[in-house]
């Protein structure tokens, strides 16, 4: 499930303060998501690639994730050129491919790849626990932080419960087919998982109340700000500002 394999390295990116990385990734994403200029988008992709190279993350695993996002993006390459109205690039019979559609799909590809790469370099290089603590320290809403941390923790438990249900079905001869029985079985699994998750949520809440939880979330982790963090916060801020300048001028 979530193996946090990217958080294990020892590059400069891994050692940066997670608060800085979280803010930088957020700033970068907002600017890139709002950008339309090709120069800004190309620079963003290059910048994200540089950050990713610094992390020295395993290329294979990075490639697998990029493949995932680009499989999804490829759907837009099928849909947008045909559905966006504009200057025809070429036509095959009654079907015409518009320039505007191709441009939109191109921007979408650049944006999604840049943002995913930036998050791999800046987000995934910290453990989930460290990110949660950073969110807490940056005064993110406490509910959001708790939701983030508890989701991470209990995803594994829910997955185990799912596996138990699946095995229980398999040992009684269940073979998935394209029929009503299969769909009904899947629906039961989902229903049971929801019920069990709700039950568990209540028990976890009880356990938290028993240890004095009253809505305030405290974190044990303490962050040490190093000169390296200062240097990188200037660099990253300059990078994001440069992208904004490329997009909007002065």
């Amino acid at each position: 499930m979530i193996r946090e394999e990217f958080a294990l390295g020892d590059s400069i990116m891994h050692r940066l303060d997670p608060r800085l990385k979280l803010l930088a990734a957020a700033g970068f994403s907002v600017v890139v998501a709002l950008s339309k200029q090709w120069a800004a988008l190309a620079a963003a992709l290059a910048g994200a690639l540089v950050l990713l190279l610094i992390t020295r993350l395993p290329a294979k695993a990075v490639g697998r994730r990029l493949l995932g996002i680009n499989t999804f993006v490829s759907l837009f390459w099928v849909m947008l050129p045909l559905s966006v109205f504009g200057t025809p690039l070429f036509s095959v019979g009654p079907v015409s491919v518009s320039m505007e559609g191709v441009a939109l799909a191109g921007r979408l590809t650049l944006k999604s790849n840049s943002i995913v790469m930036a998050f791999m370099a800046l987000g995934a290089t910290s453990s989930i626990g460290a990110l949660g603590a950073a969110m807490n320290r940056l005064r993110f809403p406490e509910k959001l932080t708790l939701l983030f941390l508890l989701t991470y923790r209990y995803l594994f438990v829910i997955q185990e419960e799912y596996q138990r249900l699946r095995r229980a079905a398999l040992i009684r001869g269940f073979t998935p087919k394209t029929d009503l029985h299969t769909y009904r079985t899947y629906a039961y699994w989902v229903a049971v998982l929801f019920v069990r998750a709700a039950d568990r949520a209540q028990r976890v809440q009880h356990a938290m109340i028993c240890r004095g939880f009253s809505g305030r979330f405290f974190t044990l982790r303490e962050f040490g700000w190093t000169p390296m963090d200062s240097a990188w916060s200037v660099t990253l801020a300059a990078g994001v500002t440069a992208l904004a300048v490329l997009e909007w001028g002065f």
Partner: protein, 243 residues
Amino acid sequence: MGFLMGLVELEKIRFSYPGNPPVFSDMSFALKPGEKVGMVGPNGSGKSTLLHMIMGLLKPAAGTLRLFGEKTQTENEFQKARRRIGLLFQNADDQLFSPTVIEDVAFGPLNMGMKPPEARRQALETLEALGLSNHAHRVTHRLSGGEKKLVALATVLVMQPEVLLLDEPTTGLDEATYRRIVDILQKIEAACIIVSHEYDFLALTTRTVYALKDGKVIDSGDSALLHTHYHVHPGGVVPHSHS
């Protein structure tokens, strides 16, 4: 009241889950300082319900609950009492919700208003006392079942409770973890209510055993006499012969 003030006193408690026959009707029970009692009873007899009621997670329909000599009814009153009572849940996964072991153990102390360095120190001390120091920075969901149980116990003991409630603490544990739990419970000074189906475990860790029957708590006597063979072994569960 008796010569000793009870830490936990339940008087004429009535409780039922909606749409079901009453779990408790006119139930009374008291736990005195330093007392270690076992609680047995068939599934569904209300053992977990009793523990949850003491913590204020479930509210009785009638009767009085006194904790540390004071009538406890409102959420505010329970919040104060919970600092002095620890509950070990049946399922350790419910209890360990933080990313790492040390953070989970420090959760209680932080809630009690301790500063992070102080909470960290106390958490480390507790882990060390339980022989769990080398797990401090492990990720909670990657612990084994036995390790989870021991860490869950640490998260409760770190708050230095005066009363310890344990809900089937040995279910599904291997021999080694079982022995460590017995060891820890034998050394502990807090008063304990231990819910369990295992008589030999109760014989090793408690003095008196109560049974839940027909919605009431019944004194079953000396825990060591409950079983023809089991009695207190100072050396733990070492194999031995009887002549």
